[in-house]
């Protein structure tokens, strides 16, 4: 036989447990919009039933139920979705950074517009066309200098902007790494809290939520791997290096970025590679423009100022024929068409003669600001000799020697200017590892660079979009499992409230029953 007061105990248990359940529902409602919060459930079970005591099997019916108890409060969460979310989030971080960077590169190159590299290069070539129209025209010479300076400045400005972009990336990496270090320290701290709480048998639900949020955030920055043993040992590796073991966190440096295979840090590393590639491509353009080997034809002949060899048989003004490949002595007046192989615009310009007397020769059109022979966007500049003196632009290909032995340029000759305008349509060779164009005109090459950049960028924005969709999808699934639904919580609250009310009523019934037994029984005839 159970005790007369068992019913009171049973209903008391019900009251306490339903209160706990309602408390948890309240906690869920309170955190409905907390980032990373996982809804919690009180797991209820019936308490141990009572057997009637007896030497043999009791004849009473049984077992007798003794009420309800709360076993645990647990999070409703799917670890598989977390793994998926973090994997996709790494990819999202990577493409976000890479895409933003490619956007910046596109903005720096500013194509299609008339102010970008295409525009200034067009202007540069056109200025030579004007000079060829009238080689003696001073304003045409001034224009060549202005347009060349413009072009060189644009190259320099593009280079500087790319460098600034690289600097920004370096400082972003440093910022991200310091955020990573803070997160690692927090994760180690939370590991400690969780272990302490759970070693006593509780579930550290809210601490686990916080740790999960940190892991989510970390996964957007760098690729992570983590493991937790059933005993509660937690390890975390980022970019292939273990950085957290239980309550111990290591401090990482910016060097970690080099090992990142995904996440924002890997995105930054790739972004730098993207910048380096575009810079190499444009440097190759500059180098080819200035010194790429090319064959030009001077249809009008040429007067040599130094010994050189032609690619065809040439006739001098005195009728001598010099065969191809044989040295033509300095001072020869070639009257036939002559084909020469020169190194870019500099090589061609060096052949020409300026208009000042005596004839200046061998002036390179572009020089480097650092004295190196390797031209690139940052060091190319208009030869200062030319920039300061329009007469040093060597548009002419002929000079005469006067009776007193002074060389005088034939100023109306624009053969070299004419040959320079033709460079634009010449086919040059380019390093084949940079773009898919290994030979073509300078214009073709620049267009290939831009098209290739556009392809990379549109590819990366498509990837970004895809990755964002994937992350959103997983997040929706996660929310479907773990998110708080207010409607559901409200329904639960009502359920628990009803249970509570009923239990209270039950207690009253038992109370009345006992009252009957204690106060109103055995008083017959009193």
């Amino acid at each position: 036989m159970p005790s007369s007061f068992l019913g009171l105990e049973t209903t008391k248990r019900a009251l306490l447990t339903q209160t706990l359940a309602m408390q948890t529902a309240g906690h869920n409602i309170a955190n409905a919009s907390t980032v990373g919060y996982t809804r919690q459930r009180v797991n209820l079970s019936a308490t141990r039933p009572q057997e009637a005591v007896g030497m043999q099997r009791s004849t009473t019916v049984g077992q007798i139920g003794t009420g309800v108890q709360a076993d645990s409060i647990t999070r409703i969460r799917e670890n598989y979705l977390d793994t998926q979310y973090r994997r996709e989030n790494q990819g999202l971080g990577y493409w976000k950074i890479r895409n933003a960077n490619l956007d910046s590169i596109q903005a720096i190159l500013n194509e299609p517009s008339d102010d970008g590299i295409r525009g200034v290069v067009d202007d540069f070539w056109n200025s030579w066309e004007v000079l060829n129209r009238d080689p003696t025209l001073l304003s045409a010479r001034v224009d060549v200098i202005a347009k060349a300076t413009n072009m060189v400045d644009t190259f320099k400005q593009v280079d500087e902007s790319l460098t600034a972009l690289e600097r920004d990336i370096d400082s972003s990496i440093a910022t991200k790494v310091s955020a990573v270090n803070t997160m690692l320290a927090n994760i180690a701290q939370l590991n400690d809290y969780i272990r302490r709480a759970e070693s006593l048998g509780a579930n550290a639900n809210d601490y686990r939520d916080q740790r999960d949020v940190l892991l989510d955030q970390l996964s957007s920055i760098v690729n992570i791997e983590y493991a937790e043993t059933p005993a509660g040992d937690f390890t975390l590796s980022i970019a292939g290096t273990q950085v957290v073991a239980n309550d111990q966190a290591a401090t990482v440096t910016a060097d970690i970025a080099a090992n990142a295979t995904s996440g924002e840090l890997a995105g930054y590393v790739q972004a730098k590679a993207d910048i380096a590639q575009i810079r190499d491509e444009l440097n190759a353009l500059v180098k080819t423009l200035v010194g790429g080997a090319v064959t030009v034809t001077l249809a009008n002949g040429y007067t040599t100022s130094q010994p050189l060899t032609a690619n065809n048989d040439v006739t001098l003004d005195d009728g001598t024929v010099i065969p191809a490949g044989t040295i033509i002595p300095a001072g020869s007046k070639i009257v036939s068409s002559v084909e020469l192989t020169v190194k870019g615009i500099n090589g061609l310009h060096s052949l020409g003669y300026g208009t000042s007397d005596p004839t200046p020769t061998g002036i390179a059109f572009f020089t480097t600001s650092d004295g190196s022979t390797d031209f690139n966007m940052s060091n190319i500049r208009l030869n200062p000799v030319i920039a300061n003196d329009t007469s040093k632009i060597a548009a002419s290909g002929r000079y005469e020697t006067t009776s007193v032995g002074t060389n005088i340029t034939i100023k109306g000759n624009g053969d070299i200017a004419h040959a320079i305008t033709s460079l634009r349509d010449k086919v040059f060779n380019y390093p084949s590892n940079l773009t898919n164009l290994s030979s073509g005109t300078l214009d073709d090459y620049f267009r290939a660079v831009i098209s290739e950049l556009g392809t990379r960028s549109s590819n990366s924005s498509r990837n970004l979009q895809n990755q964002q969709d994937l992350v959103d999808n997983v997040e929706v699934q996660r929310q479907s499992v773990s998110g708080v639904s207010l409607d559901e919580e409200m329904a639960d609250v009502i359920k628990f409230q009803h249970a509570y009310n009923a239990a209270a009523r039950n207690m009253t019934v038992i109370d009345e029953m006992l009252d009957r037994v204690i106060n109103q029984m055995g008083i017959v005839g009193r």
């Binding site: 190159l109 525009g119 060829n132 556009g454």
Partner: protein, 296 residues
């Protein structure tokens, strides 16, 4: 599927993000009228677009070249017309002078007129276009002929070339010696005029008769060059026509690659705006309904 508030939130935000970015894209296109704002809008199209832009800016130069060529050749044409007139007059006068009935006094007068014609011929030889001597090859900064030594003055043999398309170069100038005769040659026009004046002075009728045929030779030579000038002018005029047509074509092609189809874009924008409005409205509706509203 269990649906929670956060899911609706994520979904709504995603839809809004998607619609808004599409609307921004369309606004950009409508505001600029251009399909290609950045290389990634159309990585292939931008290659074409840049080529058309480059070719248009080049063809402006070619057009300017052709116009300069035409201007230069028109000046040459006028100079040769004058040279021809001078020779005609010289022939008339020489014929007059070669007749026996003309008195010696009159021959002296004719001689002085011939000397005038000689000087006129020298000034024709020194014609300029835009300040540049057109008959001195590439030495456009120096006058080829002087009154004193015109018959023996050498002109520069170089010629002046202009580009009219990437691979086509047209010669413009014809040097003085080709038109007026080689320096010191008997049929050099200055030499001929000089000789006629001298023969008139010296009353040498038979020499004057021979001079007549020398004038014809000069005339023939000038006519040959004159025809060449005409041919070159034609060529440049054709080039101008071709370039003008080509510019039209290029602009057309560029607009095909780069111009926004306004009707299409506006319709798209309207459609997008409707969708955005719908997604905003549904979002607001769904999120407003809650069990809480129905509980007492």
């Amino acid at each position: 599927m269990r649906v929670t508030g956060a899911m609706q939130n994520i979904q709504l935000l995603k839809n809004l993000r998607y619609n808004n970015s599409a609307i921004m894209d369309l606004q950009d296109k409508l505001a600029t009228g251009q399909k290609i704002q950045r290389p990634d809008d159309d990585p292939v199209g931008i290659g074409y677009l840049m080529r058309y832009n480059t070719e248009l800016s080049r063809s402006d130069q070619f057009l300017e070249n052709a116009r300069t060529g035409i201007g230069w050749l028109n000046t040459m044409d006028a100079a040769m017309q004058q040279a021809n007139d001078v020779l005609k007059r010289a022939k008339q006068l020489t014929q007059q002078g070669s007749t026996g009935t003309v008195p010696e006094e009159a021959r002296k007068q004719i001689a002085s007129e011939i000397r005038q014609l000689y000087e006129q011929m020298v000034s024709i030889g020194n014609s300029t276009y835009d300040g540049r001597y057109i008959f001195n090859g590439q030495k456009t900064d120096t006058a080829p002929y002087t009154n004193a030594t015109a018959a023996n003055d050498k002109t520069d043999p170089g010629s002046y070339y202009l580009n009219v398309s990437p691979f086509v170069t047209v010669p413009v100038s014809i040097t003085g010696e080709v038109i007026f005769g080689k320096a010191g040659d008997t049929e050099n026009v200055f030499n001929v005029l000089n000789d006629i004046a001298n023969h008139l002075d010296s009353n040498d009728q038979s020499a004057l008769l021979q001079d007549l045929s020398r004038i014809d030779a000069c005339s023939d030579r000038i006519s040959v060059s004159w025809a060449e000038v005409g041919a070159r002018t034609n060529r440049f005029e054709l080039v101008v026509n071709r370039l003008t047509d080509e510019q039209g074509n290029l602009k057309n092609l560029r607009s095909q690659v780069n111009d926004v189809d306004m009707a299409q874009a506006i319709t798209d924008l309207q459609l997008r705006q409707n969708v955005l409005q719908a997604s905003l409205a549904t979002g607001a509706q769904i999120m407003r309904v809650s069990l809480v509203d129905f509980l007492k």
